[in-house]
């Protein structure tokens, strides 16, 4: 067999399989490298999301509310 064929079959195929496996294992983290882990610093600006007022059945927020209850947690 010619040399190039030998190299391709015995080195190329295992390398190709290793590359596929590496992509399968590390692919997701390459797409989003800044996944949050507890203890990691949080340098982003504060974000506040609210439901669209048109979807809500109640009237628009008046802007004055007193907190009555709820719950807290820490991790």
């Amino acid at each position: 067999m010619p040399v190039i064929e030998t190299v391709l079959i015995f080195a190329g195929i295992p390398l190709g399989i290793a590359l596929l496996l590496a992509l399968a294992v590390f692919g997701k983290s390459l797409k989003q490298p800044n996944r949050y882990r507890p203890g990691k610093s949080w340098d982003f600006a504060p974000q506040w999301f609210s439901a669209h007022p048109a979807v809500l059945t109640s009237s628009a927020p008046t802007g004055s509310a007193t907190a009555v209850g709820g719950a807290s947690g820490e991790w």
Partner: protein, 139 residues
């Protein structure tokens, strides 16, 4: 009955992310879409305007969260998550606390906290919103 299923198409999704995705933001577009959908659906079904805040809270964190809540209305519910201070607060008002008593909030806070220890902020919020809207019931 004709046997047809009446489906309500929800083409209007909520406020959550506006405009183009900010590449320097902490969440991916898929995560923002999930959060947006969870906020819209849970608010629409329960009739309670839910609100989610992710960021630093003024110390002490409970007072900081309540100060943020004062910008909303009495029937609203605020879920405030502070990853840098590792604290989570659910705040209810005079009207929303009647539909969501403190024990329901405590259960939802437990669910959210469990996801937060794994580092899954959006997943925790989505599950917490669903649990709160289930506890509140439909309008």
């Amino acid at each position: 009955m004709s046997g047809e299923l009446a489906t309500e198409t929800r083409t209007l999704l909520g406020y959550g992310p506006q405009g183009d995705h900010d590449p320097n933001g902490p969440f991916s577009p898929a995560q923002l879409t999930r959060l947006d959908e969870a906020l819209t659906l849970s608010s629409a079904e329960s009739g309670i305007p839910f609100s989610v805040y992710i960021g630093e809270l003024a110390v002490p964190t409970r007072a900081g969260a309540e100060k943020l809540f004062s910008k909303l209305s009495d029937d609203a519910v605020l879920i405030a998550v502070s990853p840098s201070q590792r604290s989570l607060h659910i705040v209810t008002g005079a009207k929303s606390s009647q539909r969501l008593p403190n024990r329901a909030c405590a259960l939802a806070a437990l669910t959210i906290r469990a996801s937060l220890t794994q580092g899954d902020i959006v997943g925790g919020l989505v599950n917490g919103l669903r649990q709160l809207s289930d506890a509140a019931g439909t309008v």
